[in-house]
């Protein structure tokens, strides 16, 4: 704040004058910050977007050995009903040489911390390399998903076994809401 043209008339005068300017400046700064917040917050996801942030899935429609692809927050998610063979293959390789070591059980844990069910695997269908959607190929090298874009190979637990992808297919957070239903997100 620029000084006024008049000279100071003593210590009290200066302090009071400065105080008024400082107080006004501080109040203006607080007001500006408070005004700024709504304009920043308005770009956050709106209420209707937030309401669609979870997806409910009915598992009874998914046959053994089949998978469905559902949309969650605008992204694809695999919900796979694994066969006994797929489960044992996944568990067998729990301590094999893995680029991104994880046990199969770790990849089934629900969002609440409870253990999941081995026959239900819920994966985000996005290759961790550059984001393409992998396909489940029966009889492939590791029995699981294969990404056609750059040849990443995943096993029956969705773990990266060969190829350029750096990490396992991400788990989508989910909970069982009943015997045959889950909520993702």
């Amino acid at each position: 704040m620029a000084e006024a043209a008049s000279g100071a008339h003593g210590g009290d005068e200066t302090t009071r004058r400065d105080f008024i300017y400082i107080a006004a400046g501080a109040a203006a700064a607080v007001g500006t910050a408070a005004t700024l917040w709504p304009f920043i917050d308005q770009m956050n996801p709106a209420a209707d977007t937030r309401a669609l942030s979870t997806t409910e899935v009915d598992l009874s429609a998914v046959e053994l050995g089949q998978q469905i692809k559902v949309m969650w927050q605008g992204k694809p998610v695999f919900v796979r009903h694994r066969t006994a063979a797929e489960i044992s293959a996944a568990q067998r390789d729990d301590f094999a040489q893995l680029k991104d070591p994880q046990t199969d059980a770790e990849r089934l844990v629900q969002d609440t911390g409870e253990a999941g069910r081995p026959e239900w695997l819920i994966l985000q269908a996005s290759c961790t390399h550059l984001g393409c959607v992998p396909t489940f190929v029966e009889g492939s090298s590791y029995g699981g998903w294969f990404c056609p874009c750059h040849g990443s190979d995943y096993d029956t637990s969705g773990r990266i076994r060969r190829g350029p992808a750096p990490a396992n297919l991400l788990i989508a957070p989910y909970v069982f809401t009943g015997d045959t239903a889950i909520r993702i997100g």
């Binding site: 704040m1 620029a2 203006a28 709504p38 304009f39 917050d41 308005q42 956050n44 209420a47 209707d48």
Partner: protein
């Protein structure tokens, strides 16, 4: 302006910058050291308020544009989504709509200030004209923006105004369809209106930059209307004018906030909460309050002027009412700038202000509304009893002659009442009643509609007793809203075209002080207007 720049860069970085892009020097010269007349009153703070309004509208507008969808099926719903679901969307939307009104409130005060203190006079003619251009752009922006929510008033207001363009001879229809992108206001119209509404405020910002540049070239006008003569007349802009502007803007923002938080819909129209329906016209179509005076001028022309039909006359008058402002610097012939020293001009100016306010009121009224109570009356006469005789008329020459002849014939034979009905250009019937009693009744009513109802009631009451009625109607001269608008519009144009030019030549002004500083230091002028 006055003297060379006094800015001295203090740090290495500011010296480096000053050599390459003297933006700090420009800001310092324009808004810190800039010499400002010391006698400016609060009417001079509205420029700062306008700058704030422009920034507020642009910021809130850009943010709203992140959520608004310019499609006829989704526009209304997207505004609802902003109101309900977008975080603080209701607040940003309220600020934007109230902000438009506050913008116009400030601009009208700013313009009236310019008129009163002669800020449009040499050497500030271009400053004034740039201001008029800004105002015109503001009106266009506001009109375009109002269509975006796609409510009933949005749609029908757009329809009415685009139809006005159709009034222009020869090219009107083509221009209208070109503007609308179709044959009626529809999706193409909405889409392009959105694009233009986003564009124009930045054009306004550019013209504002020119406006401030022109201002700084000539220097501020002041309430005394005298030029700055020496340093004694001025104070540095910062902190003197800056703090005063901030304080006055604070009061302005308080008023703004009262509307935003407690009366957000007070300045709007309920019908705009009804989604647009091209098949149903609302009972009244009115623009927002700040455009009402022009609406009144437009509707005042309900008569043809020679070859110019009333619709075109209204459109021309409406545009002329803004256009005339552009040439004001050359219409006002007075040597004295400020109306503080022009006592006669001041009276006419005050009347002008009142006229503008009442034009605004007229714009919001039903044009046929009768302001001074008048009585419509009608005389009915009929014959009860008596015998009816009916003959057909076949005119070989002029109808009037044949009809008059038939009537005269019956009257000669003693008919008490005669009625002629014309069924074709050359044929009709004449009926006469012989004998019986002639009765009359007079009915009165305050409006024409009620008069017709009253006439109908009498006819029903008498019923079959009378074979026919003769009805004489007296329509009095009524002072309607349209008449008032005509009177006010006349004064509006007279003020600029006749009064100001003549006053300049004839008026004896008061004693104008020599310098700004003198009356101020002498203690004469303290906040007087």
């Amino acid at each position: 302006m006055s003297g060379p720049s006094t800015y001295e860069p203090k740090t290495a970085f500011t010296r480096w910058l000053d050599r390459r892009l003297p933006i700090v020097r420009l800001s310092y010269d324009s808004f810190v050291a800039y010499p400002t007349p010391r006698n400016l009153n609060y009417w001079w703070t509205f420029g700062a308020m306008l700058a704030l309004c422009l920034v507020v509208q642009i910021v809130t507008g850009v943010v709203l544009a992140m959520h608004y969808v310019p499609h006829i099926n989704m526009a209304f719903a997207s505004v609802q989504r902003i109101d309900r679901d977008v975080p603080f969307g209701w607040l940003i939307q309220n600020i934007h709509s109230v902000g438009a009104s506050m913008f116009f409130l400030a601009v009208y005060v700013h313009m009236f200030r310019g008129l009163y203190y002669g800020s449009y006079k040499a050497p500030r003619e271009l400053l004034w004209i740039l201001g008029c251009i800004i105002y015109l752009l503001m009106v266009a922006t506001a009109f375009l923006g109002y269509t975006l929510p796609w409510g009933q008033m949005s749609f029908w207001g757009a329809t009415v105004i685009t139809n006005l363009l159709g009034a222009l001879p020869l090219v009107g229809e083509s221009i209208k369809n070109w503007l609308m992108g179709g044959f009626s206001v529809d999706q193409p119209t909405l889409n392009r209106f959105f694009s233009l509404h986003y564009l124009l405020p930045f054009v306004i910002a550019g013209v504002v930059a020119l406006h401030v540049w022109a201002l700084h070239e000539a220097g501020q006008n002041n309430p005394a209307g005298v030029d700055v003569k020496s340093k004694a007349d001025t104070v540095p802009f910062t902190p003197h004018a800056t703090m005063k502007d901030l304080f006055a803007t604070g009061l302005f923002v308080i008023l703004f906030s009262v509307f935003v938080f407690y009366m957000p819909d007070a300045l709007g129209h309920a019908d705009n909460y009804i989604p647009a329906n091209p098949l149903q016209t609302p009972p009244e179509i009115v623009p927002e309050w700040y455009l009402l005076p022009f609406y009144a001028i437009l509707r005042a022309f309900d008569f043809n002027i020679g070859p110019i039909d009333s619709k075109l006359a209204g459109v021309l008058a409406m545009f002329a009412s803004i256009g005339i402002l552009f040439i004001l610097p050359w219409l006002d012939t007075s040597r004295v700038r400020s109306m503080r020293y022009r006592p006669i001009a001041r009276q006419f100016f005050l009347i002008f202000v009142v006229v503008c306010i009442f034009l605004g009121w007229c714009g919001g009224q039903n044009p046929g509304r009768i302001l001074v109570p008048a009585t419509f009356s009608s005389n009915l006469s009929w014959v009860e009893g008596g015998t009816v005789e009916q003959t057909s008329i076949r005119a070989t020459g002029a109808w009037e002659d044949a009809a008059a002849a038939a009537e005269a014939d019956l009257r000669e034979r003693g008919a008490t009442a005669v009625a002629i009905t014309r069924t074709s250009p050359t044929e009709g019937t004449v009926r006469g009643v012989f004998g019986g009693t002639e009765l009359t009744r007079q009915v009165r009513a305050p409006t024409q509609d009620e008069l017709e109802v009253a006439i109908g009631e009498v006819k029903t009451e008498v019923g079959d007793a009378a074979p026919f009625f003769n009805v004489e109607r007296h329509i009095p001269f009524t002072f309607t809203v349209t008449r008032l608008s005509q009177v006010l519009t006349a004064y509006y144009f007279l003020f600029f075209l006749i009064i100001l030019p003549l006053l300049g030549l004839r008026e004896k002004p008061g004693r104008v002080p020599d310098t700004i500083a003198k009356p101020v230091i002498d203690g004469q002028v303290q906040g007087a207007s």
